[in-house]
Symmetry: C2
Subunit: 430 residues, 2 copies
């Protein structure tokens, strides 16, 4: 028997009860809101074949995965994201399901990222997807679910905002401004950095990487410096491709207005997200102070399902992680008091009272009450101390005298008031 | 873009919504009962250092693990059980916590077992532990939690039974019957098989492996063929070591009697469980028909915490898996109807009514109602069809006429009855 101190792996978290209570608080809001929108929960295995992730994200992803060869010589990986599992599950089943499919899940996800301060290798992520609906109503519904969960947790439009763009609009604009089709992905990559790089750098990169002239680069940059959907419409609305996309986005915003979520949402062409994956409206939700990474990101991905061998189905969804969200809730003091709670602690004196106390406790639990007591014979004072440290609202005292009268004394631990209650009455419940 | 069909790894499960609903039904009962007993939920990482498991179970365990070398050259393993993580977490913290510590968790666990029909490589396991209490009250409390959760799920004493033994009693009996101390583990291994092997085989193995005479082997075998705590007391009660253990077990059973759980419990010396780990009372819960593997197993393990570098603390706990339990509940038709549920499906006619319908839906959700609607403009008939396939209790119809009167028509989808309701009244909620 060694006596080594064992340690947790770097980048992983323990959830002691205080931490688990915070996690449950968030998970419960996620589940509650999902159900209010008629979504159903599903789950997949935390371990999948490596090829499932390579198919979606390319070989580059492998360096960031917890992948290994299992004892049956299979190349496997801990799941870095949920959507490939969703696509795999639906590939088998979607034909038999009524559309649209509204599913959600709360998987734990894993990435072997270079260890940085506060950078984790696992997190939990709420995944919500509508599959089988190409209309913009599904895009709006998905963002509404995300925003409503954040509202449910106390984050209003003063605290967070959703920045929305559309890949189809961006592509139409860039092509109108002179970007050749085969340079679109390169142009997206430049735009993804437009907020973090100086304008000169962006102009230079647009010419070098997206193959446009200096004048065209200037026109593209102007789009991002002074965006607004109206301005886009004014400047490029005569282009048929652009006009159709503007129209769709206007529908999208008007649906969110009707749902009284308009204050959360703004049009922002700089939101690009994963390069090869999204095919329509994309969004990210940030804290207004702009101090944290994105709380949530998602969008439309109409081509994934067929790539993993399924039916060709349009899809839109998002992922919201627990880490940034917990930081924000803590920072804004939006985590309720999640201490331990006990309805009753039963204190007994003597063997006979102890037996009766066990019976009483059991009957109170049958009514749904949270009840504890000392697990060994102890003096009354020690029992009261335990009642306090366990956070009991009330203490029930049962001794030989109470027993002979068929009563118990019940003390309110906040007010200190004590009353006598018939045992039978206590057991019958409210 | 390939079009390969991707497959799930063997031994892993997908949880489509019907399956997830069953899983949640069980998890919720586990959580509810844990809280009624004053237990607090915790969690640890699904990936730990390999040495943590080797320390508890020896090198032999490695062949059954999902272990690998990570990209930082660490030997790691998916968790095959929860107790080592609990011990690791408490090693750091237990000194600061009031005793006894009552914690529970519902981890997913992984074993690379040879693939057999229906044999899984992952399962979920409810883990419940009391740490820091050596008295028998803690042992009884732990079994009571397990039994109450099964009662909560509909399994009464006619369906299941807990078989209880005690390592200390068994050791005292075997030593009294002539087994040398250094052969105790070998004798446990024989007894563990006593139900599945013919008596002659047991007699032979006791002589060969536990080092006793034919007469002693016969005496030991008789203990298991006709057990009963009274018989043990009659035959061996004059031995001080045995008498003390019998007394403790009597206390244990009388506590469970007081909690009105006596009908579930029987003394059964053949219950041995993990060889080197348990130190006191051990138990397993089975279906009465005896057709399935154990539903639950646990017991006292007083020496684990110090082995992983923590305080020396007594501990007692159990694990209850989801697989056998789900089988039993399904077999006994104890899974409630877990189909999809929606309070309202909102049907709208025309653009203006659609906008108003979105607002209405949003306000109903704020009251906690589960609400859906078509995500694209559709005819009334199609919308009603969706309402049906989504399992809506009521359909709210909103058209231009209703809108002009400030009302909605609400149809009960079971009775088919329809009534008119003021929109404002609907939105104010009950």
């Amino acid at each position: 028997m060694s006596n080594a101190a064992f340690t947790r792996l770097p980048g992983f978290r323990d959830f002691v009860p205080e931490d688990l209570a915070v996690r449950s608080h968030i998970f419960e809001a996620w589940r509650r809101v999902s159900r209010r929108y008629g979504f159903q929960e599903y789950d997949g295995p935390p371990l999948e074949t490596l090829e499932l992730y390579v198919e979606k994200s390319g070989e580059e992803i492998v360096s960031q995965l917890y992948n290994f060869t299992d004892k049956g010589d299979r190349e496997v990986s801990l799941r870095p994201e949920m959507t490939p599992s969703l696509a795999r599950i639906l590939a088998d089943r979607s034909r038999a399901l009524p559309k649209p499919i509204r599913w959600f899940s709360i998987p734990q996800l894993f990435r072997y990222e270079r260890q940085q301060r506060g950078r984790l290798r696992e997190h939990f992520q709420w995944n919500v997807d509508v599959v089988g609906e190409s209309e913009v109503g599904a895009d709006a519904e998905i963002l509404a679910v995300a925003l409503d969960a954040l509202r449910e947790l106390g984050l209003g439009p003063e605290a967070i905002r959703a920045r929305v763009s559309d890949r189809r609009l961006l592509s139409a604009l860039l092509q109108t401004a002179g970007v050749p089709e085969d340079r679109l992905l390169a142009a997206y990559a430049v735009i993804d950095k437009v907020e973090r790089e100086p304008p000169e750098k962006t102009l230079e990169r647009l010419q070098d990487e997206a193959g446009v002239t200096p004048a065209q680069a200037g026109e593209i940059l102007a789009l991002f410096q002074n965006p607004g959907l109206d301005r886009v419409a004014d400047r490029f609305g005569d282009q048929e491709a652009v006009a159709a996309e503007v129209e769709r986005l206007r529908d999208y915003f008007s649906i969110l207005e009707a749902m009284e979520l308009g204050d959360f949402v703004e049009f922002d062409l700089t939101i690009v997200r994963g390069l090869a994956y999204y095919t329509g409206i994309v969004f990210e939700i940030f804290d207004r102070a702009g101090e944290l990474r994105a709380i949530c990101g998602g969008g439309r991905y109409d081509r994934l399902l067929e790539r993993v061998g399924g039916e060709s189905l349009p899809a839109v969804g998002f992922g919201m992680g627990d880490v940034v969200l917990t930081e924000l809730l803590r920072e804004r003091a939006l985590l309720p008091d999640l201490g331990r709670e006990l309805d009753y602690f039963v204190v007994s004196v003597g063997d006979e009272a102890r037996r009766r106390a066990l019976q009483l406790a059991h009957r109170l639990r049958e009514q749904g009450a949270r009840v504890a007591y000392s697990l060994r014979g102890q003096g009354v004072r020690k029992q009261f101390k335990s009642a306090e440290s366990e956070g009991a609202r009330e203490v029930i005292v049962l001794g030989p005298e109470e027993l002979s009268q068929g009563i118990a004394r019940v003390r309110d631990m906040t007010s200190g008031e004590e009353r006598e209650v018939q045992l039978e009455e206590l057991e019958r419940g409210p």
